[in-house]
């Protein structure tokens, strides 16, 4: 179990490092603009004009990040609910004799 915990910790650390290292190494010189908007700029630089406007555009950057946060919260909430339910049914389904309790702790 301890080895399993170590692997989990290393995986989490790996993900965090992949995201954090660019921010640290960069030293604040880049703006980390989205690659989507970079592509759009490239299109606009070549004189391409959009022929259709978004039906709804968030009025400010703050509102936009709020809506992105809402999307993440919805997904995270559902994911947490499912994983919680899956985990919650574990001791109920398995008879104690079949397998020793592994998170009995203490």
């Amino acid at each position: 179990m301890t080895r399993s915990r170590l692997v989990t910790a290393l995986l989490v650390l790996g993900v965090v490092a992949l995201v954090a290292l660019p921010l640290v190494l960069d030293g604040g010189t880049s703006e980390f603009a989205g690659s989507d908007s970079q592509a759009t700029e490239l299109l606009e630089a070549e004189g391409r004009e959009p022929w259709f406007e978004s039906v709804f555009t968030p009025s400010s950057a703050s509102v936009e990040s709020g809506l992105f946060a809402l999307q993440a919260a919805l997904g995270g909430g559902v994911l947490g609910y499912v994983l919680g339910r899956l985990r919650g049914r574990r001791p109920a389904e398995r008879s104690p004799s079949e397998r020793p309790r592994e998170d009995g702790g203490a």
Partner: protein, 226 residues
Amino acid sequence: MHIAEGFLPATQAVGWTLAAAPFVVHGARQVVTEVRERPENTLLLGAAGAFTFVLSAVKLPSFTGSSSHPTGTGAGAVLFRPPVMALLGTIVLLFQALLLAHGGLTTLGANAFAMAVVGPWAGYGAYRLTRRLGGGLLPGVFAAMAVADLATYVTTAGQLALALPDAETGIPGAFVKFLSVFALTQVPLAVGEGLLGVLLFRVLTVNARPELERLGLLAPAPGSTR
């Protein structure tokens, strides 16, 4: 990988929509069948959709000094096969097009084709290949997540190149140009996404073992696994 609203020529916008539509319709049927015939999997189906929802909401910084979204479609493709993700991915894109002005309705077809069709299928292919070569579930999931992510962005670069060939170098030149915007930024993110997928499946193998066995991802193990 979101091509912004209104930037694809009308004919191509229609073309990509027609190309993506059958996959999405077929995916919707698969989701309905899955829920009706195997209601015990509904929970996991929700998890697959939710995973894509979270990951595609988060813009992550990358080593190129720009940022980009993961896609999260590989996990669902491994669990429920790619058609299901065609619907789930498109729902995510529709949400972003309508509420966030990210992507768009005219480019929904092209974006869905990249993220909800090509990505999941490429990821699923990588998963099957890994398993056939003797890799376990987790290496397979890592490959699926990373390849689904990269394939999505390569497809987007191709779509943009078709829409806007370079004046001198034509479509191949434009493809390289857009690849340099997307692909380089995406490589570290694809690795990160692969690690996240492995984390998710480590939780699932402990807590949802019966489901994974029923879905054919894990061989039924007699008694304890460790």
